[in-house]
């Protein structure tokens, strides 16, 4: 029988060799650019990787509520604020963390807006561990790229991200499916607690932002389907404990007046373009008035952002 130490050494050696092979395979089977055609997942949100360095001042994170409610190019047109929306469908906070870290690699946003619906999306430790593992070894995420790999593309060179998304992460939708609000924000003292795991993630986001000189803001965008007073109370409590600014646009006294007959695309679940304009206009005004972000119309970004806005508007119309 082999001695335990010898066995452990052999296991460690085998696993180390496997890790090296996985790293090498991950270098090959990874999108070489950040466009959909290159196999990039969530290309709209990953468009931030193609933005020139130090050009984004506001970063939006969250799930579909996020990419439906914040329009970066409207922020630019109305207030001269450069922003990017990294919202993705069903975004869990471990995925939010990935985008936060990715964004700060080339950017130094002054403000990070976290849409709060994602904070109530639970997940297992296993799921977050698997996600982290995929970040270390992207081959687990992008293994299917073997299907589109041509012989000349099998190399270990680093990816170069040059693709830019015209809508800067916002996903345009102008459908109208009216909602019946039915007093969805009826007052209550009840609190829907944030899970321990998600609480820890938000705390980490705050610390990360502080470390990088950014301010984390929590925003609950209007949604009769996903939001209620219990959730509001839960986030309010979390915001107070973590000393974060929290804005709930569902509250009756909210400065954003949503017309539920016109401003939602799916019966109150998400904002449509009209609703997103109201949310974005409020946020832009707030950011400028509080001095958190300044207009960048006068620096060299103007030409490129105006052109992107023009393309976005032409596609939209």
């Amino acid at each position: 029988m082999k001695t335990p130490i010898k066995t452990m050494v052999r296991c460690a050696a085998f696993l180390s060799g496997l890790a090296v092979l996985l790293l090498l395979t991950s270098k090959i089977l990874v999108p070489k650019n950040n466009a959909k055609e290159n196999g990039m997942l969530d290309p709209s949100a990953n468009g931030i990787l193609g933005e020139p360095e130090q050009t984004i001042d506001v970063l939006f994170l969250g799930d579909s509520e996020c990419y439906s409610a914040f329009i970066p190019l409207r922020l630019w047109e109305k207030h001269g604020i450069t922003s990017y929306n990294c919202g993705t469908a069903l975004q869990n906070l471990y995925y939010t963390e990935e985008f936060l870290e990715k964004a700060f690699q080339k950017q130094s946003p002054k403000v990070v807006v976290l849409e709060t619906n994602a904070i109530f999306r639970d997940f297992s430790v296993g799921a977050s561990a698997v996600h982290k593992f995929k970040q270390w070894f992207p081959v687990f995420q992008y293994h299917d790229l073997w299907k589109r790999l041509k012989p000349g593309e099998i190399h270990l060179s680093d990816a170069v991200f040059t693709h830019k998304e015209d809508a800067k992460g916002y996903i345009w939708d102008n459908k109208v499916a009216p909602a019946s609000p039915n007093d969805y924000m009826a007052p209550t003292q009840e609190i829907q607690s944030v899970s321990v795991r998600n609480y820890a993630y938000v705390k980490d986001f705050r610390d990360f932002c502080e470390k990088h000189g950014a301010k984390l803001i929590l925003v609950s965008t209007p949604s009769t389907v996903n939001w209620n007073m219990k959730r509001h109370n839960g986030i309010q409590k979390l915001a107070e404990e973590l000393e974060l600014h929290y804005f709930d646009l569902n509250e009756p006294k909210s400065p954003v007046k949503i017309d539920w007959a016109k401003d939602t695309r799916d019966k109150g679940d998400h904002m449509n373009y009209a609703g997103a304009c109201k949310v974005t206009d409020w946020l832009g005004k707030h950011l400028i008035e509080t001095g958190l972000v300044k207009s960048r119309r006068n620096d060299g970004l103007c030409k490129e952002w105006n052109a992107a806005a023009e393309r976005f508007n032409s596609k939209r119309l």
Binding site: F14, L18, A127, W146
Partner: protein, 542 residues
């Protein structure tokens, strides 16, 4: 350990192929198992097994616990009757003995009947009540009656079909005196609920695993490496082949009316491949897991597609189920007194070949009806069972004729070409059976089978057709390559080589290189992650 396993596995532990099982549950279990003293290892096994079942099936663990308790109770009851009989016999006069034996035999028969009815009755009630009442309602409608039964829906615990058969086999073995009753309830619970095997088997006998599980061994290096290799091999079959074929199979079997006979025939072949890779892959993971802790579970597959007849196929496919029906249905029916009388009379009139086939046919019919019913709810499962009954029975009836025809035509049955022809014929018959097995009902199966002959046009498998089926040519390429690898290994195994042992005798470079290649093959070519829907093990539903 409990907390670590629960919190780590979360609620997504669905099968032995889930990432939560392979990367969290199993490693945490093995760690806990390896660090506790030997005398506690069995408790780690029981805890892990109960936890696994709770995570997979939640509160339905009650069924498992109840089954174990009933096994325990009825087993001891049977044992006591045996002891009482022996005591009475030792005191009895010679002429009283027969009466005492008959009296106790009747009592034991009553007890075992009650026990088997409880076990199998639960299984049939939970699985078949809806089917039975639906058919009654259809009959009532046909008779223009307005009365209709309400169809109840039951939550069926995972693995019920498997552990119920294990429980019945234990009780029948105690009844027959093959094994003594076990007075250790936790040991019985572990025998029934050992976590790798609870979902899809193999269906073990008490003598095969109970003691080994109750006295588990420390993890040895060779067991660990062999077990992990076998697990990886099983994962490859499931993730690379079975799951990759799933969209195609699902699409064609769901929407069969939209496809021509060529595509339906192809889908039947692909489904047979999928089912084999899925089920045998699961068995590799289960047996590999048990191997790590030094427990040898019985094999459930022995390269079934090398079978020359359907009878042989069923000695190589789902072996433990076939053995269960053989030992607890076929033999008892054929050796029952009325059957023996029937055989004796038939032998006189029909001769030595056809005579025994009469009683044997009745027993075989019971086996295949039971096999069909066991597999699932629906007339197509019953048809599936009876289809195999018809094939095997007609094979038995015709065997003198075929032998005579072979000798007249000077066909050497041992010639390779003839052997491969028989293998091909058996495979085609198996594929037809699997078409009915997978079809969404008997009528759908018949319509699909008919379409193979009436709408067969073998359309070019162009890219458009493939993408309509949810797969592309790369998918089929990788399925072909993997099936080729499995086939090559099977050929080597058919020659009596134990591939894993042979691999571990090779130098480290070759050994590690092979393992790295296997693991990278699974990681790169597996049908998992974005764009793929995880597919639950196919036999977990039966």
């Amino acid at each position: 350990m409990s907390f670590a396993l629960i919190s780590a596995a979360g609620s997504k532990l669905t099968s032995c192929f889930s990432a939560e099982y392979l990367f969290v549950f199993l490693p945490v279990f093995l760690f806990a198992y390896s660090i506790v003293p030997d005398r506690w290892k069995k408790y780690v096994l029981i805890t892990a097994s109960c936890l696994f079942y709770c995570l997979v099936s939640g509160k339905l663990i009650v069924y498992l616990l109840l089954t174990a308790a009933l096994m325990h109770w009825f087993g001891i009851w049977l044992d006591r009757l045996q002891t009482q009989m022996k005591d009475r016999l030792s005191l009895a006069e010679k002429e009283e003995r027969k009466a005492i034996k008959n009296n106790f035999a009747a009592k034991k028969r009553s007890v075992i009947t009650l026990a088997a009815m409880l076990q199998l009755g639960t299984l049939l009630t939970l699985k078949y009540t809806g089917f039975f009442l639906t058919n009654i309602n259809t009959l009532l409608s046909a008779l223009h009656s307005t009365a209709q039964f309400e169809i109840p829906s039951f939550l069926i615990p995972v693995g019920l079909s498997f552990f119920s058969l294990q429980a019945v086999s234990y009780l029948l073995d105690v009844y027959r005196g093959v094994i003594p009753a076990d007075d250790n309830l936790p040991r019985l619970l572990l025998f029934l609920g050992f976590f790798p095997q609870i979902v899809e088997g193999p269906i073990c006998r008490y003598r095969q695993t109970a003691d080994a599980l109750w006295n588990p061994q420390p993890i040895r290096y060779d067991n660990l490496t062999h077990g992990l290799t076998r697990i990886a091999w099983g994962v490859m079959k499931k993730i690379v082949v079975a799951d990759r074929l799933d969209p195609l199979v699902k699409k064609v079997f769901t929407d069969y009316a939209s496809f021509d006979g060529g595509v339906i025939a192809l889908a039947a072949v692909f489904y047979t491949v999928q089912l084999y890779m899925d089920f045998s892959g699961a068995m590799d993971v289960v047996i590999g897991t048990a191997q790590i802790i030094g427990v040898a579970l019985p094999e459930n597959f022995k390269r079934p597609f090398f079978s020359k007849t359907i009878s042989e196929f069923w000695t190589r496919w789902h072996i433990t189920l076939g053995a269960w029906f053989r030992d607890y249905v076929f033999y008892p029916v054929t050796t029952a007194a009325p059957m023996k009388k029937l055989t004796t009379r038939a032998r006189k009139k029909l001769g030595n070949h056809y005579g025994p086939l009469l009683a044997g046919g009745i027993a075989l019919f019971c086996v295949w009806l039971g096999n069909g019913v066991w597999h699932g709810v629906g007339w197509h499962f019953i048809f599936f069972g009876l289809y195999h009954f018809a094939l095997i029975y007609s094979g038995n009836l015709l065997s003198p004729l075929t032998k005579r025809a072979g000798s007249l035509l000077h066909i050497d049955p041992e010639r390779i070409a003839f052997r491969w022809l028989r293998i091909l014929r058996t495979t085609v018959l198996v594929v037809i059976g699997e078409l009915f097995f997978r079809a969404n009902g008997l009528w759908a199966g018949l319509a699909m089978f008919k379409a193979i002959f009436t709408r067969f046009s073998l359309p070019a498998l162009n890219a458009e057709l493939l993408s309509g089926l949810g797969v592309d040519w790369q998918d089929l390429l990788i399925v072909g390559v993997t099936v080729g690898i499995v086939f090559t290994v099977s050929v080597i195994q058919e020659k009596g080589v134990r591939v894993c042992d042979a691999l571990y005798r090779k130098p480290t470079v070759i050994r590690w290189g092979t393992l790295y290649a296997l693991l990278l093959f699974i990681i790169v070519f597996g049908a998992y992650g974005n764009g793929y829907t995880p597919v639950d093990p196919l036999y977990a539903q039966y």
